[in-house]
Amino acid sequence: MKLLDPHIHMSSRTTDDYRNMAEAGVVCVVEPAFWLGQPRTHAGSFEDYFLSLVGWERFRASQFGIRHLCTIGLNPKEANNESLAQDVIDMLPRYLEKEGVVAVGEIGFDDMTPVEERRFGEQIELARRHGLPILVHTPHRDKLRGTERTIALVRECGFTPELTLIDHNTEETLPLTLDAGCWAGHSMYPETKMDETRMVALVKRYGSERILINSAADWGFSDPLKVPKTARAMRDGGIPEADIEAVVWHNPVAFFASSGRIDASEFEEPVRVDQRELWEGNSVLRGQEPAVER
């Protein structure tokens, strides 16, 4: 079964992670633009980050046969830095046009400030202009309220719910997200957010329609193999294969395909791995024989 991790920050992961993910069946990742663990001091560092998402990181993933897509946006935490935020918003149109950019994101609420709400709305408008869906982060604190306000804002903006993926859902927020007609992401963190057992229970209760799971792995305490591990837990929990496949492949593919940037037929084909592409001076191989798939 092919797996897609629709929310993982690969820039902060090692090549070992890529190798283990590929071995576990992950063939595609979506890397949302987010913050870097501490606030950036100027807009230029956002630009170089966006460029690494469509450049170096994409190449790094391809060395392991993993297709790398990304979302571009101003995250809610840094939206609160007024002088920085405007410069970042101004540079977005150019990056939203790039190949492999499949949504505007992560956008949404963090502290739920008025400034966050304004930047959220502006980026919904950008998504409309560039024909892209949106990937919405929901806050860790006061999550239920944050999710309600997210749904309300998407409605107010007249943005299509089917083009909206609301992420980091819990038992409390999932019914709201589904009732609003949006797609529902679940971040499988080792300790917080959501775990395998709870996820199995949610799929048993709500089915697989519009439900996605991700590892949300980054530089923090997280696990890039959470999608394969949760797929296994769903299988052990007696969830039908078709539902598992919907959650880990068909749903994320369908959602990101709404960007019109994914060639669906090409997407079903595996990426050819040619580790000869790796660099002698800058390579995981360092003397090992390269793996070449024919």
Binding site: R58, Y95, G260
Partner: protein, 225 residues
């Protein structure tokens, strides 16, 4: 030739993509070229998906004859991006054109960078001014981008200094890219390159590793035609 290429490509695209290309090219010919070009250049990849394969081959042959990368190297997206560049570059002063190339390179994704490299030799008048961006591209760690300038491209042999050319050839050798794909290598061979490549061969022998089969292509005096 530019008009002929643009007309041919537009007629081989799906109607909405053709309309997009005509509109983009018109805007580039008349408006504030640089700003508009960035978005068009970035979005060209998905517009090129509808391009008929025969048209890609025909365009590639034309672009090769105009001094661009050899016909085998052009992808559909490269061809559409070349049409966009052809609408802008000839209008610009040498310095402005070089600045624009640098901007497209620095803020491009991997595919945009490749397309730019394949087109560097298309404009004789400004080709020499593009050397810095071509050398910058040789520093990349992304293999496709390096190959776009080093392989199947007449530009480096025509415009690189000896030191620039030698570094590029050595890197192509290290990457196993196939030196037969480095255009003009025979005629640009030189004693310093022979020394560098021989030293690399020694290093491999000491490490007990095989020598690339095509290493001899870089060794010896320049070919005379």
């Amino acid at each position: 030739m530019n008009d002929e290429l643009e007309t041919m490509i537009a007629s081989a695209l799906a109607p909405t993509d053709a309309e997009w290309l005509r509109g983009a090219a018109d805007e580039l010919r008349t408006g504030d070229a640089s700003r508009a070009l960035f978005a068009f250049f970035a979005g060209a990849g998905r517009r090129a998906r509808s391009l008929a394969p025969e048209a890609v081959g025909k365009a590639a042959a034309m672009l090769e004859s105009m001094g661009g990368g050899s016909a085998v190297s052009w992808t559909p997206a490269d061809v559409v991006r070349a049409v966009l560049l052809l609408a802008v570059i000839p209008r610009l002063a040498v310095g402005t054109a070089a600045d624009l190339s640098r901007e497209l390179f620095l803020r491009g994704d991997n595919a945009e960078r490749c397309a730019l490299m394949r087109g560097l030799g298309l404009w004789d008048a400004i080709a020499a001014a593009q050397v810095p961006v071509a050398v910058e591209a040789c520093r990349t760690n992304v293999k496709d981008v390096f190959a776009a300038i080093a392989c199947d491209n007449p530009y480096p042999a025509r415009y690189f200094s000896e030191a620039q050319f030698n570094q590029m050839v050595l890197k192509a050798l290290l990457l196993g890219l196939g030196l037969a794909r480095v255009e003009g290598l025979g005629r640009r061979r030189n004693p310093e390159l022979t020394r560098m490549v021989s030293a690399y061969a020694n290093e491999r022998r000491h490490a007990g590793r095989a020598l690339p089969a095509d290493i001899d292509l870089a060794i010896g005096p320049p070919e005379t035609s």
